[in-house]
């Protein structure tokens, strides 16, 4: 049956989240934009307290047991949307297992899940990050050069990773961990790619640089260098064998399928914040969208607003559908990439238009609109650019592999 009502459980969860967004994010957004890489501890502590109280990450939530099962992904996208509505940069600083945790959930053994994830339910705030991209390869994840060499009871990792979101928080600011993708057999291509866990404090790993970015400046984007970084053998998630040629990579892809709707939700939170603020401010100048009038009778600004709203809603419904499918364990690769593509486009368009519609005030740093435009753009770039996600969709609908459609 087709229905669009928000489940009561989700609604309750959102009340807390909306409070956080209003109290701890909106007022702080500009400060952390202007003080790049400063950690928003106020927000972190509030979120961490909630993690400790509920015993679960506010973000991972993909495969949860218990009462709320069946709503995990739906809850997740709502939570992420609302936090990003508060502030997308601060949201990305949220403590917990995050993307690294999702990789552990997707590919680790039960023992590994316990060993690595238990810390995210106790003590001080912690982060887990994921290190995939390298300087010479962007979307081409199969081309990574970081190596994992077996040496007795250890793996020894060497290489350089970039674009590690929250890398500094995971490795320096907390007793967190990093999931690193490295190859155990450079000749094996994707089949040789494996995920390894490097815990904070491990010798041989260091944060080499924090990137200075267009937006989401509260979030740290780290370059991480691994030099003879020695980790226990069973820090390899899953199996070391290069048997199934696509399993290691499939693990990575499963992680992306799971997180793309959340990335879409984050984008759409920014877009909603923009639409709401633009409408509120233009209403002061007498501009109101007349939904009952035909298109030919609208002003140009009304039509812009209408298009923004329609696009925003389209992106959000696609996201809900992808989440709904995930909660039902339905394969949702196409839907995940669709909502990511659409959300990236929508938030880019909506925030860029929002700046224009407010005129000089939109362009000024006195209002958050210009910041949201800068924050927004990341969503068309990370966790698969718009182009990569179009490729994912196209391959699925056409029935092609990466050989038929490059």
């Amino acid at each position: 049956m087709i229905g669009f009502e928000m489940p009561e459980e989700v609604r309750q969860r959102l009340e807390f989240v909306r409070g956080v967004a209003l109290t701890h994010m909106r007022p702080a957004g500009r400060h952390f934009d202007e003080h790049e890489h400063e950690v928003p501890w106020d927000f972190v502590d509030v979120m961490w307290a909630e993690v400790l109280r509920t015993g679960q990450s506010f973000r991972s939530g993909v495969r949860r047991a218990g009462a709320e099962d069946g709503l995990g992904a739906l809850t997740l996208v709502h939570v992420v949307e609302t936090l990003s509505w508060g502030d997308a940069g601060i949201y990305l600083c949220g403590p917990g297992a995050g993307l690294g945790g999702a990789a552990i959930e997707a590919t680790g053994t039960l023992e590994q899940k316990a060993r690595f994830l238990d810390r995210f339910r106790e003590g001080r705030p912690k982060w887990a990050c994921m290190a995939m991209t390298e300087p010479h390869c962007g979307s081409d994840t199969a081309a990574i050069r970081t190596t994992a060499r077996r040496d007795g009871d250890s793996w020894v990792l060497d290489g350089e990773k970039i674009f590690v979101t929250s890398g500094h928080k995971a490795l320096v600011d907390s007793e967190g961990l990093m999931v690193v993708w490295a190859t155990v057999d450079p000749a094996a291509g994707r089949a040789g790619m494996k995920p390894f866990v490097v815990e904070a404090g491990t010798p041989g790993v260091r944060v080499a640089k924090l990137e200075r970015k267009m937006g989401i400046r509260a979030s740290d984007t780290a370059a991480v260098v691994l030099e003879g970084c020695r980790i226990p053998l069973d820090n390899l998630l899953g199996s070391a064998e290069v048997a199934d040629p696509r399993k290691g990579f499939k693990g990575a892809m499963a992680t992306f399928d799971a997180t793309r709707p959340a990335v879409a939700a984050s984008a759409l939170g920014i877009a909603r914040a923009t639409v709401e603020l633009v409408k509120e401010l233009l209403a002061l100048h007498g501009v109101e969208v007349r939904y009952d009038r035909p298109r030919s009778q609208l002003t140009a600004v009304e039509r812009d607003l209408l298009d923004m709203e329609a696009q925003l809603r389209a992106g959000w419904l696609l996201t809900l559908k992808a989440a709904w499918m995930m909660d039902r364990r339905l394969p949702n690769t196409v839907e995940s990439s669709m909502c990511k593509v659409k959300a990236g486009d929508v938030v880019t368009r909506v925030t860029q238009k929002g700046v224009e519609l407010l005129g000089p005030a939109g362009y000024s740093r006195r209002l958050p609109l210009e910041k949201w435009m800068r924050d927004a753009k990341i969503n068309d770039l990370f966790e698969g650019t718009g182009q990569i996600n179009r490729l994912v969709i196209a391959r699925r609908i056409l029935g092609y592999g990466s050989r038929e459609l490059k």
Binding site: D292, R390, A394, I397
Partner: protein, 332 residues
Amino acid sequence: PDEGGALPEALTRAGWELALLPASLPEDYGGFGERSAVTGALFAEELAWGDAAGALALMAPALVAVPLLVAGTEGQRRELLPAFCGEGYVPGAAALLEPRPDFDPRRLGTRARREGGAWVLEGAKCNVPFARESEWVLVYAACEGRTEAFLVRQGTPGLEVGERERNMGLHALPLYAVELRACRVPAAMRLGGEEGGDVGRLLDASRVAQAALAVGVARAAYEYALDYARTRQAFGEAIGQRQAIAFMLAEMATEVESARLLAWEAAWTIDQGREATREACLAKTFADEMVLTVTDRAVQVLGGHGYIREHPVELWLRNGRGFAVLEGIAIV
């Protein structure tokens, strides 16, 4: 049916046997179900996936029946609805659109004024489906500062059905220009009687219907282009193996899916009994643009072959362009 400009009778007969309309009318009025805009949207998409003109023909009875159900008086419903629940297909006609670029359904040029026990209608309508074939024509007019609808019986003096419209697309659908010249309608034949009807809800339901139809047309074009891209060879491989074509198809798929969800949500909002003006507006705004883009891209995927009438994609583009232009030709 596009080239001949006529609908095969077998189509309407077969379509009628699906019992679209009786299934959405309560037993009291001869049906065996209740109205669901969501179900209507699903039907509309599927039918339009087959053919937009055929879909509009099969949905035409609703043009009179749904307004009666939603906004008619109990008497109007009991009198008129059972006729739509019989064995055979009975078309309905709604005269909303007017021949002006600044047409606005809430500011109609056609006017109704009260004269004693009757309403007198004056004005010009266009693209009225089945205006000649239908027993009842539901005429929308400005009345006491708002839009109201009037049930006008075929043959009423002053209801002048003009020549058949000749449009770029939808050739198989009978659409007519209609003039109302001092057309007198008994007072009781105003939809909703003395209190009038909530025409705003009908306009919303009409927008949703057209959005769903647009999704069907666009999906047909997308699927045809997808299939073509997989089989057509050029430069030693299928044209779908080139990113330019493949990305176009990925975007078409995304846009069709987006429009479908927007139409569903708007339909669902109607079924909840809530005000759906905003949702219907967003769905139609998105779908109007989407169906044009997607059908145009489908022609593009076929290249020169898309321009030839042997393939259906150029027809879908012509039909697709109609959605932003025509209003009130369907309802769920």
